[in-house]
């Protein structure tokens, strides 16, 4: 650390580490390649920050800085040059298996479960030289969008620690937002990457279903589960997707596709891009400040030559019922053996959900999956006329810890349902969706937007998202976590 202080010329630790801690991956990569910092020093900086901030943020369940330091020491100059993430620390939601490390899934049930091999995406990042700093907190088994966890604590929002980080990938969002790692992996079954990313001022991506293999990730609902990515910038997100988007025969949903360079589209002109603006559901019953921010984004995109095209989504009234009807029987099936052996270790909340799954009929489940197919066909039809669809990421900003329900326009809604109201649908259809910040609410909390694309057309999302990011009009200040 002394070498770092001398090299960076800072008098105080805080100044030096803050600049590094909130840098994006591409900037850190530049520093490493310019020999201004080593991967081992980066690990030290982030390890110190995790030690300093984890008690408040509750981001990490398991910290592995020693393993990260060993991996950093083994990296060669060639390794550093061959990969966009070599020497870069990251974290993964505690559903991803990391060989030799405990995978708790945020539950007492898995308190002693040590992974014997890496999940597919962890193996990809390991071979690319990325450094795993540990496993992040979550809503137990990803069942819930608030991130509240009675065993490992509830992650708070970096912009206001009295507010929720959101979930279920709460720890992954908090870890990046508090400057404890520059990127993290999460899972998204109804918005569990995109919503917490939006609530914490980050970029969150749920790729097309089948794009990133889920092998080695504790399942919640096979039909809806997606691996997702949380980063500070759109370019970082594109770089990581380029590493983890591959075919894996162990994942039945995995799709064989040619290797893509997702960063290709960054910086491309958006003139002529057709952007769908939903005329129903997505701009309804929302915080007016969020809607105003989205209006400013629409104006900017139009100024840049994009064409705004109204689109109408199918009847959305039953979408949450359809999603729940698929989720709970699949979760019950996934947990069947553990319920028999360790049933008493589950939280009351999750057991209640599993009991519900027990009492639904097979016909209900199949009908729900047939509805999902109609949603897919109807959404695909919208993409005949547009290239990308723009919506708010969430209808509300981050809520206070302990909030049970929100009320908007006289309608009460469970806070978890409100957080994921605009994201859940695209887990059913499987379309790629990205959330990113687009303004700061007068209450000092991030506002997010969501971009949705055609199957396997993540490049169009990155193209539009990068335009919104690079123009600077929608940038938000960093959270003041070090004061």
């Amino acid at each position: 650390m002394e070498r770092l202080r001398q090299r960076w010329g800072y008098k105080k630790d805080n100044g030096m580490t803050t600049e590094i801690a909130f840098a994006d991956i591409r900037s850190l990569r530049g520093l490493i390649r310019a020999d201004r910092i080593t991967p081992g020093e980066l690990v030290s900086v982030f390890a110190e920050r995790i030690a300093a901030h984890n008690a408040v943020s509750r981001a990490f369940i398991t910290q592995t800085p020693q393993e990260a330091a060993r991996s950093a020491a083994a990296l060669t100059k060639e390794d550093i040059l061959r990969s966009p993430v070599a020497g870069i620390p990251y974290a993964s939601k505690d559903l991803f298996d990391v060989e030799g490390v405990r995978t708790t899934a945020g539950s007492r049930v898995f308190h002693d479960r040590i992974a014997t091999e890496d999940a597919f995406v962890i193996a990809r990042l390991r071979s690319a030289g990325a450094l795993s700093m540990g496993k992040t907190n979550l809503h137990e088994f990803a069942y819930g969008a608030t991130g509240e966890n009675e065993v490992y604590g509830t992650c708070v929002n970096a912009y206001d620690p009295t507010r929720l980080a959101g979930g279920s990938s709460s720890g992954s969002a908090a870890a990046v937002a508090f400057g404890l790692v520059p990127a993290a992996l999460g899972t998204d079954t109804g918005g569990s990457v995109r919503a917490p990313a939006a609530l914490n001022g980050l970029v969150g991506l749920k790729p097309t279903i089948g794009c990133v293999p889920t092998h080695g990730v504790v399942p919640y609902c096979w039909t809806l589960d997606h691996v997702g990515i949380l980063t500070r910038t759109v370019a970082d997100c594109a770089d990581i997707l380029g590493l983890v988007a591959r075919y894996d025969s162990r994942d039945p949903a995995s799709v064989k596709l040619p290797k893509e360079d997702y960063s290709e589209s960054l910086g491309e002109d958006i003139s002529g891009v057709r952007i769908g603006i939903p005329s129903n559901f997505f701009f309804e019953r929302s915080d007016p400040q969020i809607l105003s921010a989205l209006e400013r984004v629409k104006d900017h995109l139009a100024e840049k030559g994009a064409r705004l095209v109204p689109v109408t989504f199918p009847d959305m009234r039953h979408t949450r019922t359809v999603s729940l009807t698929v989720q709970m029987p699949e979760a019950l099936s996934a947990h069947s053996a553990h319920l028999e052996n360790r049933g008493e270790l589950y939280s009351k909340e999750f057991r209640a959900g599993l009991a519900l799954g027990q009492c639904l009929l097979a016909e209900h489940y199949v009908k729900a999956k047939r509805f999902i197919e109609t949603y897919r066909q109807q959404t695909n039809a919208l993409f005949e006329d547009v290239d990308v669809i723009l919506t708010p990421a969430t209808p509300e900003i981050a809520q206070k810890v302990g909030t049970v329900k929100t009320t908007r326009d006289g309608v009460d809604e469970a806070v978890g349902n409100a957080i994921t109201r605009f994201t859940t649908f695209f887990n059913m259809t499987g379309h790629p969706a990205l959330t990113m910040p687009c303004g700061l609410h007068p209450e000092g909390l991030p506002i997010g937007l969501q971009l949705v694309g055609r199957y396997f057309d993540e490049k169009s999302l990155f193209r539009v998202a990068h335009e919104i990011e690079k123009c600077g009009k929608f940038s938000i200040p960093l959270p003041e976590v070090d004061t």
């Binding site: 799709v255 959900g353 599993l354 027990q358 999956k369 197919e373």
Partner: protein, 67 residues
Amino acid sequence: MKPLTRSTLEGICSQMASHDWSQAELDELVDPRLGIITGFQDLLDELETLRKIDLGTTAPALGVQKR
């Protein structure tokens, strides 16, 4: 459709293959008091509405392909 009763759920759990659910967990499904599950009856009512919607020959959703 008549409202769900605990005896129905007890019958399912004792007469069909099922995990062991406590009386409190079954109570919560038919008469939510703890706020853990809300609206199971509403969910069943909505599922009954969906069941009656004819989706023709639409198959259940499987994998997706590039379009």
